[in-house]
């Protein structure tokens, strides 16, 4: 987007504007360095994914994606996201309601606890469930006696995914709802709305873009999580292999086209996420302002 103000004022105030911005050559050099850095570190990895996926032509690409193991990996990834994202949405809304609408003791501490999963290594996020539910784990014997399988099965993968994506929705909604205050809800309540009605007809429409933003990021992470899921999955082909884990297996088997074909789907998901995220920021930037930049 061109900035007309700067353009019109530069020629008149040559000396002054030179003092509050860098000289032209310096500007050009800084811009070149920044863009070159981004091209090498961000753009090239993205391009190489699609390049390698299509290295042996579109036929090989489609074939790599149609294998039964790949299909089941895609299905599992969708299933895991379909369970963990809604649960974290319910939690995020509930936590944001409690934290943003009320003043209570220990609120700051609770907010810190919600962010905790972000400062824990994904591998440790998986490990904690192994220690809890594994054969040597705290609940291992009890689970075995009751025939409940959590580890190296879908429930374990879902739990690990919920753990790593836990803060996304809550931390988008909390600052947004705090900024919006309680006025709208109080008005609705004084006009006779029930609590549910106030939430459903007043709060939810107010925060819908922020909520969508959080869901977007939560979903991207849920579908792409590797470390935590890798620890709890057991890597059973066709059963407990999510897409990222399938990428690893194919890659380690030197099946580059296969690995990058699956990777290209995940990269496509990342691109769609980025596009939607940017559109949301462009159209509802003011509403999201409180939460921009994680």
């Amino acid at each position: 987007m061109a900035d007309p103000e700067i353009k019109s004022y530069e020629p008149h105030h040559e000396s002054q504007s030179a003092a509050v911005t860098e000289s032209r050559p310096v500007k050009a050099v800084l811009m070149a360095i920044a863009l070159a850095f981004l091209a090498v570190f961000l753009l090239l990895p993205l391009i190489v994914v699609f390049h390698e996926a299509l290295a042996k032509g579109i036929g090989a690409y489609m074939e790599a994606l149609s294998g039964p193991d790949t299909r089941s990996a895609i299905r599992l990834t969708l299933l895991v996201a379909a369970i963990s994202v809604p649960l974290n949405v319910v939690f995020g809304i509930s936590a944001a309601w409690a934290i943003a609408k009320f003043e209570f003791k220990g609120k700051a501490f609770l907010t810190t606890l919600i962010d905790l999963p972000f400062s824990v290594s994904p591998v440790i996020s998986g490990l904690v469930y192994v220690l809890l539910f594994g054969a040597q784990g705290l609940l291992g014997a009890w689970l075995k006696a009751h025939g409940i399988v959590i580890l190296f099965a879908v429930p374990g993968i879902v739990l690990a995914t919920i753990f790593v994506t836990f803060p996304f929705v809550a931390r988008e909604l909390i600052p947004l709802m705090q900024e919006q205050g309680n006025g709208d809800e109080e008005a609705a309540l004084s006009l006779g709305a029930s609590g549910w009605q106030a939430f459903w007809y007043v709060t939810l429409p107010n925060v819908k873009w922020g909520l969508l933003y959080g869901v977007l990021l939560c979903n991207a992470r849920a579908m792409g999580e590797f470390g935590a899921v890798s620890v709890v999955s057991g890597h059973i082909r066709g059963l407990t292999n999510t897409m990222p884990l399938h990428v690893e297996i194919l890659y380690n088997e030197y099946n580059a086209v296969g690995a990058f074909a699956v990777a290209s789907l995940l990269a496509g998901l990342a691109l769609v996420t980025l596009v939607l995220k940017t559109l949301l920021e462009m159209r509802y930037g003011a509403e999201l302002a409180a939460t921009r930049g994680h």
Binding site: L42, V48, F91, K101, F104, G227, A270
Partner: protein, 283 residues
């Protein structure tokens, strides 16, 4: 803030006409406890059950120490690189106008959105000796893939948006009039940047650094492909945890995880102190 009625004394929450406090807080706490707190305290409990001698033996094991050194060292280097280039990228995005700026701005978030395993195999392919970048570096005698340098590259990729997205909003809020005032008073552009602009940005830069560092220390997916994973040379701590788990050596895995967590929290504490200090110093 709002003052509580004098007769009420200590109260858990301020009165409010909004309903649903018990329900939402209750559900949130239950969910938080089940998903995060109980599993994490299980880790603490298990490492406490190890006993001090066993714990210490694992902690000072040469392989553990090396893995921790590699994880923290490479994460530190990557965070330093990200502070330099991330701040530059933020500056270019905030202050300069060029075609495609919006797209470049959106691209910065790619590492947040791209699954780490995909980043890992893509970077490995790029920096392998026959890769697009690797074959250019080969004649210079620089090996990236399967060396600690590769780990740094992966962590630079992972950490970049943390620095840019922390510094960028603060840069946008910088008051241009302050710069103009400094210029009117005869400050050179360099002086303005180092004496006027930098102090305002310092806390954000420290935050960005710590976020990138913390993420780098724990990173697994993007690193294991490019690292080569040689014990003592390019084996990161999270990978060592996975290896110990696969050996059914739960004790060692638990101990290493506990050490990593403790070090990360210590680091966050130090960063918070530095931040308070820099706010006081420059604020």
């Amino acid at each position: 803030m709002t003052t509580a009625p004098a007769k009420a004394g200590w109260r858990f929450r301020q009165p409010s006409v909004i309903p649903g406090f018990g329900l939402t807080l209750g559900f949130s706490l239950a969910y938080l406890t089940l998903i995060i707190l109980i599993p994490l305290s299980g880790l603490v409990w298990r490492s406490a059950a190890l006993g001090w001698t066993d714990f210490w033996a694992i902690a000072v094991d040469r392989r553990t120490l090396n893995a921790l050194k590699i994880s923290f060292g490479t994460a530190f280097l990557a965070a330093v690189v990200n502070v330099v280039f991330g701040t530059l990228v933020a500056w270019v995005l905030v202050r300069y106008r060029f075609p495609g700026r919006r797209i470049v701005d959106a691209m910065v978030d790619l590492p947040f959105a791209l699954p780490t395993a995909v980043a890992g195999i893509a970077l490995t392919t790029l920096y392998a000796p026959n890769g697009w970048i690797g074959h250019l570096l080969m004649p210079l005698g620089i090996k990236v893939a399967y060396t600690p340098l590769g780990i740094v590259i992966a962590l630079v990729f992972i950490g970049l948006p943390f620095v840019v997205r922390t510094v960028q909003p603060i840069m946008e809020e910088l008051d241009k009039e302050v710069e103009e005032a400094a210029a009117t008073l005869g400050a050179s552009r360099f002086q303005i940047i180092t004496r006027v602009l930098f102090p305002g940005l310092a806390p954000a830069i420290v935050t960005g650094f710590s976020l990138a560092f913390a993420r780098g220390v724990g990173e697994y997916g993007s690193v294991i492909f490019i690292a080569g994973n040689l014990p003592f040379k390019s084996e990161i701590a999270p990978l060592l945890i996975v290896i110990r788990l696969e050996e059914y050596n739960y004790e060692a895995a638990t101990a290493i995880a506990a050490i990593m967590l403790a070090l990360s929290f210590l680091m966050l504490l130090v960063v918070n102190l530095v931040q308070t200090w820099s706010r006081k110093r420059y604020g």
